[in-house]
Each structure stands twice: as C-alpha cells, then as structure tokens.
Amino acid sequence: MTTLPKEVTLSIDGLPVTVPEGTLLVEAAKAVQTDIPVYCYHPKLGPAGLCRICLVEIEKTPKLQIACNTVVAEGMVVRTQGPKVEDGRRAVLEFLLLNHPLDCPICDKGGECDLQDYSIAYGQGMSRLAERKELKPKAIDLGPTIVLDDERCIVCQRCSRFDEIVTNERSLVVKDRGQRDVIATATGAPYRSNFSGNVTELCPVGALTSKTYRFRSRPWDLQRTRTTCQQCSVGCALNVDERHGNVLRTMSVPSDDAVSEGWLCDRGRYNVGFYADERRITSPLGRFGDEWVQLSWDDAIELWATRLEEALASAGSASIGVLGGGRLLNEEILLVRHVMRALGIANVDWRTGRQRQASPGARGGTYDDLENAQAIVTLGRPPSQSAPVMDLRIRKAVLRNGARLISIGAHPASSFVPATHLARLSDLAGTLAEVERIAFVWDGIDAALGAEAEAALAKLAAEGKHVSVFVPGETPNARGAEALGLLPAGGALDTRAQLEAARGGTLRILSIFGANPVLHHPAGAAFVREALKRVPFVVATDLFLTETGRLAHLVLPAKAAFEKDGHSFDLTGAVHAVNAAHGAPPDALSDGEVMIALAAHLGIDLPSPRELADWATASPATIANGLGDAALCGSLAPARDGAAGLRLAIAAHPFAGGGTVYFDDRLGELRPRPGLLLSPATAQAAGIGEADLVDLAAGGRVLHDLVATLDGNALEGVVTIVDGLPEAPANDFGEGETVTLGNVRSSRALAGSVV
Amino acid sequence: MILFWILSVVLVASAVFTVSQKSPVYSVVGLLINFLALAAFYFTLDAEFLAVIQIVIYSGAILMLFVFVIALLSSGIGPFREGPNRMPRAFVPAVAVVALFLGLVVYGIARGPLVPTPHQPTSTIGAAGNANVFGSIADFGVALFTTYLLPFEVTAFILMVAVIGVVLIAGDAVPQPTLGHHAAPKRKRRRESIVKSR
C-alpha cells in the first residue's frame, strides 16, 4: 500500500550503515550497536533536544550535533566517540550536575541511573562550582503514587511528554522557567492517572519516584523475573523485582511491543502489596458450623474428595457445581476441566461476574489491528478502566492515526481523546460507511448487545471491511477459561442456574475457583449469599477470605499470579508465559496442584505434562467457539427499558474489587470510595452538588452514602457507579436499570474523584 | 590344694571357652586366661622360669600373633568368612572318641596312683635364684646348655626353618586377588554380621 521508504547510507564510527530515510541518528547508531547517551530522547516519545547529552561529531559540521534530533543524510560521516565528543558531553554533564545533589547513596535510582552512569563514563569527577548547590524542595507529593525530588530533576520533560504524547492526559507540565522550573500538574491538582507509574521508569534520574518503592531497596538487591501481568486481560509483559521474598516493584518490559509497548497501568504496577499481606490464607481452613479450623492439606483434600464421592453416589453429578476459572492459568483450567469431566460433572461455568463472553469469535484481532483501525467502536463499558493499557492503543489510534472513536451504550468512551457517543447500535451503520478497518471493543457483558453487534459486524464484513473484535474481560484469563472449556455443556447449569439450583436445595456441592460471585455476580449479593448458604458443601480457593470465602465450608489457600508457572491468553488470544517470581506462602498450592492432589485422592488419571503443555500453549483459535453462541453463553440481558428517569451505568475501575486490590494496604487512596458519577446537568436536575452524599435506590435495593462526582464527560441522564466495591456492592443493580437518587447531603470533606 | 582346684577350674573353663567360642578373638581371650592359669600352675610347681616363659612367649608372642592375624584379616576385608562348624555332622562321633580316650586315660590314672619312681634328683628344692636349685634359671640354663645342647641347637634350626617358611608362605610371592573380586561380597558380609550381632 505504501512504497518502501528510501534508504540512506551513512558511516557511524567508521562503519557503514543503511537505514530508511528519515531515521534519527540516535536510532541509526543502534544498528551498529553504538550507545549514544540520551536523557530527554525516548524511542517512544521522540526527540526533544533538551538535554544535549547525545552530542556527536558530524563531518563538515563545525559544531557537535545532537544525535537525537538529527536526521540521517546520505554520506553523512558520524563519530560518536573521540575527544571532541567526550569534551562536549563532559561540558553538558557539568551543567546538568551543577545543581544535581550528590545523594546517589539514598536515591532510589542509584545503581540504575542514566545520569550516574554517564557521569562516570563522561563526567569530570569533581565539580568546579565554588558556590553552594541550589537547594530545592525534596519530597514533593505529586499525587497518590508519585513523589518528585525537585533537586534531582534535569528537566528532560520525559514525564510531561509521556503525559502528553502517550496518554494525552496533559496533566504534568513544566511549571515556571529557568532555575525555578518544576514538574507539576497544570491545575495544581494531584497527579492522577492510570499510567502514572510509567513516569518513574521514564525519569532518567531519581526525580520521580513511586511512593510504594521509595527507599525500599537498591536496584542491585532485586531479583528480577519476567512474567505476564494477571491483573486484567490485556496480558502485558512485566518484570517482577523481588527482595527478601517481598515483591517490591514491577517494571515494564520495553521490548514488549506486541502487547504493552512498554507501558504499564498503575494497577499492574502498584497492586503487588497483597503478596505479603498478613491476611492471606496460609493453610486450608474448614468451617464447621461457625467455627473455623485449620486443616492439613491431606485432610482438606480428603474432605473434599469424600464429599464429592458421597454426592456423586447419592445425588449424581448434576448435584455438583463448579464456578470460576477466569483467574487461573491455562494449565490449571485444563486440570480443573479434566478432573470435573472425569467425575462426569458438567455444571461448570467460569462466568461468575457480569461478563458473559470472552471470545471475540472468528473476528479476533491483534493489538496492531486495533492501533491501525480507522474506526474504533466501544460497546458497553469502555476499556479505559477495565483494560487500561489497551486504551493506550486506542488513544494512539485516535491521536496519531486519526481513527474515529465511537462509543455505544451508557458509558462514554474516553475522557482523554475525542469520541462520538451513539445511543444505540443501529445508529452505527451510517457512521462507518467510508471506513475500511473497524475495531469493535465489546465488554462481553450484554449478550443481547453482543448478538446484535455480531449481526452488524457480519453485515460490515460482508461489505468487505476488515473487522476485528476485542473483548476486554473482567478476569485476566477469561479467554483461556472459555477456550479451554470451563463452560456448561449440553444443557448443564450455568452460574445463575447453579445458584438457583442452590437456592432450590438441589445443589450438593459447589466448588469455586478464584472467584467471588457474592460481590460480582449480577444476581446480587443477597441472592448469591442465600444460595451459598443452602449448599451443604462449598469449596473456595482464594488468596483471601473474601465475601464468598466466608460462606464456604472449605477454603483452600491459592497461589497468586507471581507465584506460579504456566501460561495464559491475553484478550487477543496470544499465549504468554507466566513465571513464578515470588515464593508463595509455605502452605499455599496453586489450583492446578490442588487438582492434582484431588485427582490422586479420587484415583483419576491426569494428562501427561507434555500433553498439558501442548494444550495450554495452543492458540485458542483452534479451540474457539464462535461469537454469539447464545445457547452456550446464555442470555443475561438486563432490563434496558427506554423509560424516562435516571439510568444506571455500572463502570469498572482498576482499583475496585474485593480481592487483591482490597487486600493491598499500599494502594490507599488509589482505591475508589463508593460514589456515583453524574453529568453536571443531570446533577443539577437532581439537586446534587459536587461531593454530596447521595443514596441510590432501585426497586427496594439501596446503596447508601455514595459520594457524588460531577463530570462533564458523563452522559446525560445516566448515573454511573463503580462495580465490585465490597463497601457498596453494585451487583444488586442491573446495568441500565432505572434508579432514583435521594437523601442528598452535603459533605465537602469527602471531595474527590470517583471514576 | 585350694589353689590347685581354683586354678584347675579356671584352666578347664577357659579351655572350654576357647574351643567353644564363635569369634576367634574370644577364643584368644580364653586362651590368654588359660595360659595365665598355666603360668600360675608352673609357679606353684617351682618352675619359675617356665612360668615367665609361658607368659612372655606363649601369651606375649604366639597368642599375640593370633590377635595380629585376626586384626590383619579383618582390617582389609572385615571378619573373614569361615566354613560352618562341623558340630552337626561330627558332634556325636567326636564326643564319643574324646570320651573314649578320656575314659581310658582317667582309668589309667585311677588304676594306681602315679607313685614317683625313686629317681636321682638332679637338683634340690630350696631358695630360688642359685644354681643347682630346682626350677632356678641358673639350673635351667646349665641343663639346657650342657645335657640338652643338641635338642637346643635342633630347636634353633627348626626356628630358622620356620622363619624362612613363613617368609615364603606369607610373602609377596602369593598372588593377590583383585580388589573387585573381594569388594562385592565384603560389604554384604559386613552388613550381615552387624545385623546378626545386634
């Protein structure tokens, strides 16, 4: 479609290099593996020409030139080394270090600091400055996650450029000029972003540091393991840095171009405090009446196996239900399925939350398809909260590739890039008339909407358009759970049917793998509680005693994502390796290991490790089921009445949930407070002001004391609340339900953002 | 006379102990006691020199040699194997033969007391230490180097023959079995013997 770019041949340090026309010198130098020092330049942020450290000598040019902002030219002769270059860099460093404090011993960057490295490589060792160094404020609180050390800042503007170029949020700027320049938010408000942690990695010095990692360790003490993030379904590669058995920080993998492009969201970066939380379950717990008893694994597995055998013998396999699986790795999912099939149990369903479907069907696409789409359509919850790093791709597509962003449904698509909102799917066809490449991002919740979308997509595809579908789910490996068969087959009971059977008293055993239906299942917390209480034997594997776990009779300590080895699918269906980076609590077992133990007790033969690995790493396309298989997925169409009044939208939030987020003390104010979000006009109509306390009610169900936040980006007539908050469970309410607001009280003290 | 009975009980008991023990080391201990009792007998029979010789040569040298051989044989390869005792097969005939001859001898002794034939004493019994006193070293030496010179020299010759013989038999000329040949049964035996002795 495009002609090959013209190539240019030049010489760098005497070596001939041929690169496409327009390449920057600093990138061309990488072809001959010459390292040109950079501070302000970043491959993904482009040149800025601020720091001048990348000086190189170009023949026929009288002065040294900066490599980061010089485009290659035919026949250029470049020297990146030599006395002249070194003199230039020494001079640049001397200026950079004029006011840079000598606190490398306590600086978190010390040991992995570019300024430190290049000072040693090119610096002159002693300062010639006779005056005392400029003193600036040191621990400036930029926001909930980031602390700025102004003395250390060399004003390379990588952070503010990231905030502008990559996220388009534009909150970080360089305030003031000259020696008084300082990194700050333009409005003076705290720096809040789902991607704030990335600036600490971008910072070439130790000016921006993470609150969770400040002074915890030195980089050389850390043990690094590369794994795949299991906080959402995007599947970003990340490096886990651990010391003394504590996960201290996670770092992005810059080479992970296929998925994350080297960015991490704050949930993936900061939600690691739960690994060492004291509330983690450390041994199998049995509940007898109201009494919790610590059990040995042998006893626990035996109890489970015995109950299973009893139930199988007395009431048959239809009396046994299995829920969950979206948090498991492929290997574990396969083991669960294998054991359950061996026992003849068909009541298996991974869908313990709102999400009905994880597979994009036959129209799955890669992240590159998303980035290159000319139009991106979001259906239902926008991925900005449920799959933040994926949202960066959408922003890139919109900002740099000129794609149109269209959202359909009760949720706005994005606050940071221009978007069009459409009320219903049928409005779409005309809008997409002249677009070739279309990406659909569906939240997988509203199955009816999904089916409708599938029909629309089929029509678009028939017109010869390239359509790709993305389903960012609620659980990290929902795609794997669905592809590898944790679904009710042949008329078996899905989650809701199982819960109803439980209420009806016909379910004898319910096994729940890493799921919390009490908080997340749309049937409502009260309904699920009641159902679980009627089941004679409930087994739950989890990291913590969640709302569901407290209702179980046997709770098994599971391993968390960084504690086990295996594979998982991301939402595009690519397989990623998950590597154990962290020692699990001594008595925790992964769900796979639990299944192996259970199989041993029940005398079930397991597939060989090789078979298991083959299946776990196969592409889901080979086992995928199509989009819109209504019979399989079941219908959970919420009441989408067109009646007047306020409609409810239930939004995701990266730091909402009853599991790892709830049990991570370090997250602090990152966690959302129970609240609701309204457009100013809607709020005015309801008589609600910013930060007022409001009660939300629908059909006798009430959520008390929600903090109101006004947002111009919100839709008219829609009240948005956050899903998955244990303090205010939203699953009692249906998406699109008509709600009423009342009992408005003013409370200025609680002002703050909700969504 | 009391001394006689005590010593003879010790003598017979230690002799039986020697013959009946399973382990040669215990036999050596029995034999040692036997020799010490014998030495005591010699002492009571005025054979002072012989008593000392009995201890020095018999106990100190010959019996020591046994211990040495036992230690030598167990040093490299553990307690050496030996065939089963002949007890089951030969017990009855052996006891019969022994009893028959013992009976004959005792009968012979009992038929008439051994009245000492009047014989010319070569020496007197008296204060020890001087020549011509029975049992003294001087007396013994004189007899050895005069009357019994020829037997003495013959004995010396026998000793020389024995020394040469021993060197020939136990010397390096004997082919050594390979180590591997020994090693396997050795370890097994060792364990068995430990188990048995527990």
Partner: protein
C-alpha cells in the same frame, strides 16, 4: 614361693601385701597425675607457652580437674564395637601396667627391700606383664569396630613385638653382668659401678626401645593423631579413655624405674652421697628419665612407619645382639 618383704612386721603376709599395695597404689597414681602435669608444663615451656596454669596455683590442681572431666564425660560404645572386649581392653592395659609395680624395688633399708614382692625372676616378670599389656591396646583397637583403631592396634602389635625383642636383648647384657634376674640383685651388683658404663650400648638401645614400647613420641604411631585420629583409643571416651591414659603414663614411669634399676644403680647413691636416702636417689633418677621422655616428645617428630620397623629390625636388633655377644665374650674371658 612366698614373696620377700621389705618390712618384717608381725602380721600375716597378705595383710602386709595389701597395705603395701594400697600405699603404692596411692603413690603411683599421684605420680602419674603429676607426671602428666609435668609433661604438659614442660611441653608448654619448651613450646614457649606457660602450660596449664588455671586450676590452682601454677595449675597444680589440673590433674584433679582432668580426672573430674574424665569421670563426667559420657562413656560411649560404638554400635559396631564388640562390647565385651571393648569394655575389657582398658582394664587389661591398666592391670598389666600396675602389676609391674608389684616387683619393683624402690629402695632398701635395714629391714629389707622397699617393694611388695621380690620375685626371683623379677626382670622377666616385668617383661611378662609388659607383654600382657599389649593385649589391652590390640584388643581395644580390634573391638572398636572402626578402621582407625584397628590400624592403630595392628601397628602397635607389630611395633611392640618388634621392639620387645631388641629390648629384651639389650637387657640380657645387664643380666650377664649381674648374674641374676632379681631386680634387687641387679641393683646390688651395681654397688661399685653402674651398668650404664659397661653397658652403654645396651643402655642406649634400652632407652630407644622403651620409648617404642610405651608408644611415646617419636614412636607413637599407635595413636598418631594426624594419621589415625587417635589410634587404638579413637572410640574411647570418658573413664575408659582415662584408663588407657593412666596405663600409658604408668608404663612410662615403669620403664623409667626399670632403666634406673638396670643401668643407673637403682637407689645407690652416686659419689658416696649416702646421706641422702636411697629412695630420693631413685626418684631423682627415675624423674630424669621421665623428663627425658618429655624432652624427646618436645623435640622429635614422629617416625614414618616403615622406617620405624626397619629401624627396629635392621639396626636395633643387630646392635642389641652385637652388644650381647660382646658382653658375653668379655664376661667369658674375664670370668
């Protein structure tokens, strides 16, 4: 054969024997204790350090502390040991070592010899008991059921047998000169001239072999710590180890006494200094030998085993035989 007594007391002979034995036992054990202390002290001094000096003044109560330690330590028996013989062995050693003192005359007074019993074949009796003492070592090594003790005991057996020959031969020269095997008789024969002068060769051979017989440095291959951990007593601990320890020192004192009796004229006073009682002279002379022992230990390193055997058989035995033949010839000629 009733033993001869040093003191003619109006009591049954066995009462006298028992009383004398008890007195001697006390003296011998005390001597052992302090010769051990002396050894540690002198060794210390020769190695430029003070030696034991913590228990009591100048460390004089060290032996008591050592004894207490020995008694309080756990008495171990290895699982592979032959229990009966393992327990028996130290007693054989000790009894043989102590038995010798029955015939050693320490001095003489008007009443007779200062000894428990004067056996006619006294010197032979000593050799007899010494040869019994070997059993203690070799049985201990065999019965420990472990390889270092076994090697130690095999070494000791070979060494003792080899050196006993030369030792006996070296003593025979003295016997020829004295014309008696009675220890008292030998001392009496030295009233005019100590046998160390006519029997200088024999004396030298005796000294060397005596060191070997008592397993002392430089002939302590039996218990060579560096090679055999502890030799025959590797597995022994506590009281049983103590018994071996006592036996070793008693043997050392014994051979010192015998050397005094055979070569240094026993209790005979030198240079006519008869004012000083004989017992003092005896103790002085024996003490000289004990000192020589310690001195030797502080000076010479351990011999290699094959050199030890070669030395015994190829040098000492021929030399002793030569010495014997010369003595016999001289006596035969001079009558």
């Amino acid at each position: 054969m009733l033993p001869a007594f040093g003191f003619a007391l109006e009591a049954p002979w066995w009462v006298e024997v028992v009383v004398k034995s008890l007195v001697l036992l006390f003296i011998v054990v005390t001597t052992f204790a302090y010769s051990m202390l002396a050894e540690r002290k002198i060794l210390g001094w020769m190695q430029l350090r003070p030696g034991p000096n913590r228990v009591g003044p100048w460390g004089l109560l060290q032996p008591a502390a050592d004894a207490a330690k020995m008694l309080l330590k756990e008495d171990l028996t290895p699982q592979t040991a032959d229990t009966f013989i393992y327990r028996l062995a130290p007693f054989i050693s000790l009894i043989a070592a102590m038995g010798v003192y029955a015939v050693i005359p320490f001095s003489e007074s008007g009443n007779g010899l200062w000894s428990i019993g004067d056996v006619n074949a006294g010197i032979l009796f000593v050799f007899a008991l010494t040869s019994i003492g070997v059993y203690g070592i070799s049985l201990a090594g065999w019965s420990s059921g472990s390889k270092y003790p076994l090697l130690g005991s095999v070494r000791s057996t070979a060494q003792m047998i080899s050196y006993e020959l030369a030792m006996t031969m070296s003593v025979v020269g003295v016997l020829i000169l004295a014309g008696t095997t009675s220890l008292a008789g030998i001392v009496h024969a030295q009233n005019r001239l100590w046998f160390v002068i006519p029997q200088l060769g024999g004396f030298a051979i005796y000294l060397i072999t005596a060191v070997a017989e008592t397993n002392r440095t430089p002939f302590d291959l039996v218990e060579a710590e560096t090679e055999l951990v502890g030799g025959f007593h590797t597995e022994y601990s506590g009281l049983r180890f103590g018994l071996f320890f006592i036996a070793e020192y008693l043997n050392m004192i014994t051979v010192s006494c015998i050397a005094t009796l055979l070569f240094l004229g026993g209790w005979n006073a030198p240079f006519g200094l008869t004012v000083i009682p004989g017992i003092v002279w005896f103790v002085l002379k024996a003490g000289l030998f004990i000192f020589a022992y310690i001195w030797l230990r502080a000076t010479l390193p351990r011999l290699r085993y094959d050199r030890l055997m070669a030395f015994g058989w190829k040098i000492l035995l021929p030399a002793a035989t030569l010495n014997l033949m010369l003595t016999a010839a001289v006596v035969a000629v001079t009558g």
